[in-house]
């Protein structure tokens, strides 16, 4: 069965880009435009991985991530942060006790092949860790 990836990004062009790219590589995708919609989609779509933008209206990526890692059901889903601002790294996982670091930070613009390779790796390692438990 195809792995499912949720794309959280408020920019339509980036949604289209990532959707096309990931579908081409055999993944099933769902794109939402902010954290709030992401949260609703999470329960229905049950993704294996999330790509997350930082600055979005309604609910920022930071807030969404904070909610996610506190949720026992979804906290193990690997998250790749996609942002134009490297500085936002500081905003995630500053407090390592209560907030684990996201799987990776990727600075926009992305290199398509590199992102795909990273996603593949993330899915493999998360499968391993699930199997180990």
């Amino acid at each position: 069965m195809a792995k499912k990836i949720m794309i959280v990004d408020d920019e339509a062009d980036i949604q289209t880009f990532l959707t096309t790219l990931l579908k081409e590589h055999g993944y099933e995708t769902m794109a939402v435009s902010d954290g709030e919609k992401g949260w609703e989609a999470l329960k229905v779509f049950r993704p294996d991985l999330i790509t997350l933008d930082v600055i979005m209206p309604k609910e920022t990526g930071q807030k969404f991530y904070r909610r996610l890692v506190k949720d026992s059901e979804f906290k193990d889903i690997p998250v790749i942060i996609l942002s134009g601002v490297t500085r936002y790294k500081e905003l995630f996982g500053r407090d390592h006790v209560t907030m684990p670091k996201p799987y990776a930070f990727v600075e926009k613009p992305i290199v398509p092949e590199e992102l795909v390779a990273m996603i593949r790796e993330a899915l493999v390692s998360s499968k391993k860790s699930k199997a180990a438990r």
Binding site: D13, T20, E24, P57, K58, G84, K108, P109
Partner: protein
């Protein structure tokens, strides 16, 4: 009757008995052997029992005469003396006293007794010491000048920094000037007996520029004509340098932030271009015309974004000078409402103005304020569009409020959480994805600041937002003064070329 005749014998006797008690000093009468022959009650209460004691015993608790006793010299030369002495009072405390020695001649002209009159000056001595400590230890330059502006006293810090000033003119020694400084605060203190201060720049002995804040006060209060003024100066050279460094650091930080923001916007556009390119290439490979045109549209859109980014950025960076003229704030708002009413209505949003009739025309840059209101209103409409509530509304308001002209733009749209609120006035921040350049609010704030005003926002997530621009009338009037200076007029007046 002569005054002498008026004094009765009885009174004379009483005076003889009581004279020593009436004199407001500690009185002793001593002989050549330092013996105290008589003393008054004051002396006794200050120094204790004196009967059978030598003066050095009673005054200082010594067992033998003081070396080089000056009082005894009066026996030989018959002169009066005033001496500053330190003794021990009856409780053993050190006491400063001023002692007046008068030799008493008896009928044959020989001096057999000395009359000593002293009073305690311990308290004023203490005060003098405190004053000296203050004068020398405060980290300030202190000078005292006379009415000719000549320095008659200065503390060591001043001397070390500016050189020995005694008898020199204060303007010469502080600033190497040959005449009095304009707006001299000391002159004001001489004139109105008040305290004044001013910020000054001087030159030290070693040629360093010294920034200092000087406070001048008359040295005496009750005189009709002030004779001396004290100048106390605090050196603020280092603080000035720090302020300058801080401004520079802030400027660099702002530049850095701007560059980082610009890079962020460009990265987002590059991401769009990258995406367009990718989709076109997949479309070509698979021979899918829809994909090709989808990718192509993405490419076009992101090229357009580049154009508008560059345009907005230049607009922001250009820093146009505000063109100030008397404008009617209410008319400006009406203009904006007319302009946006249709756009808003199409999106199902009601746009209306609430005008305060008390608002009078003000000196404004109408184009600038137009830009501000446009930015705020289009943001408000966007915020409403993102909200799902049915009664979406944007209100532009003018308010005249305690010397301030206020513009408010209210919406009941999406609102902002504090994370977003914190970032909205930073360069290139946008929540509109590709829709915004992140320069609108920044430009708005810049224009408001150029008008001497402030802009702030109140908002809660899901509860709409209120942006408020406050322009103090006082600052606006100054704006008009600057705008109407001859220099500006010349710039705007075309120069006729003579043929």
């Amino acid at each position: 009757m002569t005054p002498e005749e008026l004094i009765t014998e009885e009174f004379k006797r009483s005076l003889d008995r009581r004279l020593l008690e009436i004199i407001p000093f500690n009185v002793t009468i001593i002989d050549r052997q330092y013996r105290i022959l008589r003393a008054n009650g004051r002396f006794e209460s200050a120094f204790g029992e004196w009967r059978g004691k030598y003066c050095y015993e009673a005054y200082k608790g010594r067992r033998e005469p003081c070396p080089n006793c000056r009082a005894m010299k009066s026996f030989d030369d018959g002169r009066e003396r005033v001496m500053d002495e330190v003794g021990l009072d009856r409780k053993g405390r050190q006491a400063h006293y001023l002692c007046h020695i008068a030799p008493i001649r008896i009928e044959d002209g020989a001096i057999k007794y000395l009359l000593g009159m002293s009073h305690d000056i311990t308290e004023s001595k203490d005060r003098e010491r405190e004053y000296d400590i203050f004068f020398e230890r405060v980290p300030c330059y202190i000078t005292i000048i006379d009415r000719d502006y000549k320095i008659i006293r200065a503390n060591n810090l001043f001397k070390e920094t500016f050189g020995n000033p005694l008898g020199e003119y204060c303007y010469k020694i502080y600033k190497r000037r040959s005449s009095r400084c304009p707006r001299c605060p000391a002159a004001k203190s001489f004139a109105d007996h008040g305290t004044h201060s001013a910020e000054q720049v001087g030159i030290t002995r070693k040629g360093r520029t010294a920034h200092y804040v000087v406070t001048t006060s008359p040295l005496t209060r009750d005189e009709e004509e002030i004779q001396h003024v004290i100048e106390i100066s605090t050196d603020v050279t280092e603080i000035k340098a720090m302020e300058k460094e801080m401004l520079e650091a802030e400027r660099l930080a702002a530049v850095g932030q701007t560059v980082a923001g610009l890079a962020h916007s460009i990265k987002n556009i590059l991401m769009g271009l990258e995406g367009g390119k990718y989709i076109v290439s997949v479309g070509l490979k698979k021979n899918q015309p829809e994909m090709i045109s989808q990718g192509w549209e993405m490419l076009e859109r992101n090229f357009d974004k580049t154009t508008s980014l560059v345009k907005d950025f230049l607009n922001f960076a250009k820093g146009q000078r505000p063109e100030v003229r008397m404008s009617d704030p209410n008319a400006l708002v009406t203009e904006i409402v007319d302009l946006y009413k249709e756009v808003a209505a199409k999106a199902g949003i009601e746009l209306k103005a609430e005008l305060d009739a008390r608002v009078k025309p003000a000196p404004l840059d109408p184009k600038g304020i137009h830009t501000c209101l446009t930015n705020l209103v289009s943001n408000a409409i966007d915020a409403c569009q993102m909200s799902e509530r049915p009664d979406r509304m944007v209100i532009i308001r003018t308010v005249e409020e305690k010397g301030k002209l206020v513009f408010e733009v209210d919406d009941n749209g999406l609102g902002m959480d504090c994370e977003i609120k914190r970032k909205i006035f930073t360069t290139f921040f946008t929540t509109k994805g590709g829709g915004g350049t992140g320069l609108g609010l920044l430009t708005t704030r810049k224009i408001v600041q150029e008008h001497g005003g402030i802009i702030d926002v109140k908002s809660r997530s899901g509860k709409g937002a209120r942006f408020r621009m406050e322009l103090p009338r006082k600052r606006l009037r100054q704006l008009l003064d600057i705008g109407n200076s001859p220099q500006t007029e010349n710039e705007n007046t075309p120069v006729k070329e003579s043929s």
